[in-house]
Amino acid sequence: MQRFLDPAVLARISDLDLVARTVVDGFVAGLHRSPDFGFSQEFAEYRAYTPGDDLRHVDWNVFARTERAYLKRYRGETNSLLTVLLDASNSMNYTSHSVSKMDYARFIAASLFYLAIQNQRDAAGLIVFDDEVRNYIRPSTRQGQLARLMSGLELAEPHARTDFRKPLDHFQEFLRRRGLVLMLSDFFEPPERIVRTIEPLRFHGNEVVLFHVLDPREIRPELGEPAILVDLETRERLEVTPEYAQNEYRQKMATHIDELRDRARGAGMDYFLLSTERPLDEALTEYLSIRQRRN
């Protein structure tokens, strides 16, 4: 099963739903006896039934013994709203192998949607943005939500350049209810500006996780000879030497990653670096296990 989770293999599967199922089922199978994964699977407490509550959640065993209706509450119910912010700027189109950053981000998002909706029955939504909000699918648990989300991911094609500030204003409108906000982006902005822009989401009680999606060649570029590089977003051209790419660029990129991680965590956000050559299940497992420890 593991070989199916290779991003390069998954990239050949055109059906995003199938990709998500393959990833999730694959790594769930790999977790063995770990039923308490996910956002809100862990039991928290019993609460007395009040009119309007969903009768499906009544613990009928307790009712039989005590003749009182109690609802079984789980810890996840406090953040059962999942919103994925997907960066669809042109830089996400970059790839040095068979999987672009955009594809990889789609796979991650699809897998998380599948996990949330199919396994947890949580509400999930999607916001696709570049310098504007391109698509918004409201979080919901309604029938067909997963299909809508998958369709939204399919339609998310990179267009313009990234600008977090403008779409974040809209996010404030959309994210009224607190929940889990996952942002998938390559974050080619100064870390300070990124964190400052995203930080307000955290004030609403949202749990914010930054998925930093990068191609391996973006982290360790390899140039055989001097080359002219073209910025995918700005179309700017620059002649770059192999020596620079070998030394100074790598150092700058490492500093950028470290600073972003530090600032994000300093602002109460989680940060995960995802290299597109990394198997998807491995990335998800790491993320979920870290979350589990935190909870």
């Binding site: 570029p221 080359a227 910025d231 700005t234 002649e239």
Partner: protein, 670 residues
């Protein structure tokens, strides 16, 4: 400077390829998309400048390599003055010392002329001396040493060889191939007409040889000579040996000449002969009374001409007892011995005497004293005799078996050992006889017998021919003559009789040479000639007689072969006239009389117009070239392609080195 193949310069257009690859293509590098240039800075590194320099050096080397290659193919040359080469002209003196130069004072005149030419040459000019006979003999290397050159001229001695201007031209062609310097050839010769090759083209000299002729004879001189002597090499009966000599006169008036036959220094017979003007006369001596062993003979004339060397002709004769032949036959058969003996005595110069013995009385005969045995159509063979014959053959004896009608009734041919398959009578054929269809002309028995054409065979015995060599077959493929080696001896089978009943062979003219050749073949006697020509070769050993010492004693009593040559030399070239004494590898002693080639006796000279043509052909060119000397001397082309190719090699090595370093840098970066 110029180019011998200027069209190759078009190839210089190929420099466009590296120019395109290095310069144009480099600037059209496809930009690579990258997600963000946020962390990049525009910067030109010093290492890039270094590499660009190396890149330009590589480009320059590649351009140079291509241009040099094109240059090499265009074959450049420069005009170099050849004045120094002209001063390096070789003065080649060739003195004819062939047999005809013995006439009068020809050789002395030639040497005197050569000495005067040597004296008149500039001291710095190199000269070389050679002698011309049948081959060109080098007497000195090219040198300026006047003393050595004069000594070489004076050392030239008359020889008995035949001069050849064709050989002179051939040798000079090979000299001209190895040395490009001009050669001034001075030929001192009697310009004998007979020295010319059959084709004038064969004596044309190479272009860089200018010929200067120094004829020492301008007209033909009268000369008498013993042109040829026909004498046997071996004599068995002196009374039956005959000597025939041809006396020739060249440019001579009609005259009477006294011809003497000299045996071992004593005049044995004298004849007077009338030789017509510039003609030939034949003299015959009826007997050659020589003692047993080798005798040194000559036919001599009194001529009193200027060339006494050809007034006698030498030959050697060996006298020995005739070989004995045993003829075994049935008592009733009287024809076979009659025919065979008649043929043997008439043809073989009394080399053999035949004893005819009926087979029934031959049991006690000592076979070893006979040269060979003839077994003629016996119906039965006493076992003692058959054993004796088999032993005789195994020990090296030879037998001729004739299988007629009597032998045809036996199951196998006696002595020969082959089974008789069938006795065939051809009387029922349409023509009542068969002829010989195939014959091996290499076999001595049929060599001179005209392949037995016309011989009619009425009867033949068909035998199993396995293990034997079929010499002749009838037209129905029946083997008629077979040869077989048994032990050290040899058996020849005639599958028919020796009488005139089973065939008409004994009555046929081919029978005599057949008997003669077969007798010599079976007895192992070689027909030798007692005289040879100068420059001919004597075979000293056969391929089976290796590592056996031979001995040659020349007419001067010297042994010309070294010890090593005496054990390895296959042949020996006879270089002078006189008697050579030999001991061959097979142990046989021999004496050979050697005479000069009689074509040298004709002292007629080459006509002046032919001489002018010969020297003019080359001299015109040389005169022409010397007339153009001031102009062409400075303009001799000197090819440079070799040096250009050397530069190509250097450029290729440098290009490989620089390219490997450049690519090496790139690999490190990766």
């Amino acid at each position: 400077m110029g180019f011998l193949a200027p069209w190759f310069l078009v190839g210089a257009a190929a420099v466009a390829v590296p120019l395109y690859l290095h310069l144009l293509r480099r600037h059209t590098t496809t930009p690579q998309p990258f997600s963000s240039l946020m962390f990049f800075e525009q910067r030109t590194q010093s290492s890039i400048r270094h590499r660009r320099l190396r890149y330009l050096l590589l480009l320059a080397l590649r351009l140079a390599l291509l241009l040099l290659l094109v240059l090499a193919f265009a074959d450049p040359f420069i005009n170099r003055p050849v004045a120094s080469a002209s001063s390096g002209k070789l003065l080649l003196l060739v003195i004819d010392n062939s047999f005809s130069m013995r006439a009068g004072s020809r050789l002395a005149d030639a040497k005197r002329d050569a000495t005067s030419v040597l004296a008149s040459r500039p001291p710095s000019e190199r000269a070389q001396v050679m002698a011309l006979g049948s081959q060109l003999q080098v007497l000195t290397q090219p040198t300026q040493d006047s003393v050595g050159l004069s000594s070489a001229v004076n050392s030239v001695q008359p020889s008995d060889t035949r001069g050849s201007f064709g050989e002179l031209a051939r040798a000079l062609h090979s000299m001209a191939e190895s040395a490009n310097e001009p050669i001034e050839l001075h030929l001192f010769s009697d310009m004998q007409k007979s020295n010319m090759p059959a084709n004038f083209q064969d004596m044309v000299l190479p272009p860089n040889v200018s010929l200067v002729l120094h004829p020492v004879a301008t007209k033909a001189m009268p000369n008498w000579a013993v042109e040829s002597v026909n004498a046997p090499g071996q004599v068995w009966d002196p009374k039956k040996a005959r000597v025939e000599a041809v006396i020739a006169g060249y440019n001579t008036p009609a005259a009477m000449r006294t011809v003497s036959l000299v045996v071992n220094g004593k005049v044995a017979a004298t004849r007077m002969v009338s030789v017509p003007a510039s003609g030939r006369a034949t003299v015959e001596f009826d007997s050659l009374n020589v003692p047993y062993g080798f005798s040194r003979c000559e036919v001599r004339i009194d001529s009193a001409d200027s060339l006494p060397g050809d007034d006698s002709s030498l030959f050697a004769v060996e006298r020995s007892d005739p070989g004995r032949v045993l003829f075994l036959h049935e008592s009733a058969d009287s024809r076979s011995p009659l025919y065979f003996e008649a043929a043997l005595s008439s043809a073989a110069e009394s080399a053999f005497t035949m004893e005819s013995v009926p087979v029934a009385q031959a049991s006690n005969v000592m076979l070893s004293k006979y040269a060979f045995v003839v077994l003629s159509d016996v119906s039965s063979l006493p076992s003692v005799l058959e054993n004796n014959l088999a032993s005789y053959v195994r020990n090296g004896g030879s037998v001729l078996v004739a299988a007629g009608t009597a032998t045809g009734r036996l199951p196998r041919v006696p002595v020969f050992g082959a089974n008789i398959l069938q006795a065939r009578y051809y009387s029922n054929q349409e023509d009542h006889f068969l002829n010989v269809g195939d014959a091996d002309p290499a076999h001595p028995s049929v060599q001179k017998a005209d392949r037995w054409s016309g011989v009619k065979f009425y009867y033949a015995v068909r035998v199993d021919d396995s293990g034997s060599r079929v010499v002749a077959r009838l037209t129905d493929q029946t083997p008629i003559l077979l040869d077989k080696s048994i032990g050290e001896g040899r058996v020849l089978l005639l599958a028919s009789g020796l009488d005139n009943v089973t065939n008409d062979f004994p009555l046929h003219p081919n029978f005599v040479p057949f008997v003669e050749q077969t007798a010599f073949y079976l007895s192992g006697t070689e027909r030798r000639s007692g005289s040879r020509l100068v420059d001919s070769f004597l075979q000293l050993r056969t391929s089976k007689e290796q590592a056996v010492s031979v001995e040659v004693i020349d007419p001067g009593g010297r042994r010309p072969l070294s010890l090593k040559e005496a054990t390895t030399a296959q042949s020996y070239q006879l270089t002078s006239s006189g008697f050579y004494q030999l001991r061959l590898a097979n142990g046989r002693q021999d004496v050979v009389g050697v005479n000069a080639d009689r074509r040298e006796s004709d002292l007629d000279v080459i006509p002046p117009d032919v001489l002018a043509l010969w020297s003019g052909n080359t001299s015109k060119e040389s005169v022409a070239s010397s007339a153009d000397q001031p102009a062409t001397e400075k303009n001799k082309p000197f090819g440079l392609w070799w040096y250009v190719m050397l530069l190509v090699l250097l450029a290729a090595v440098a290009e490989s080195w620089v390219a490997s370093r450049y690519l090496g840098t790139r690999r490190e970066e990766l």
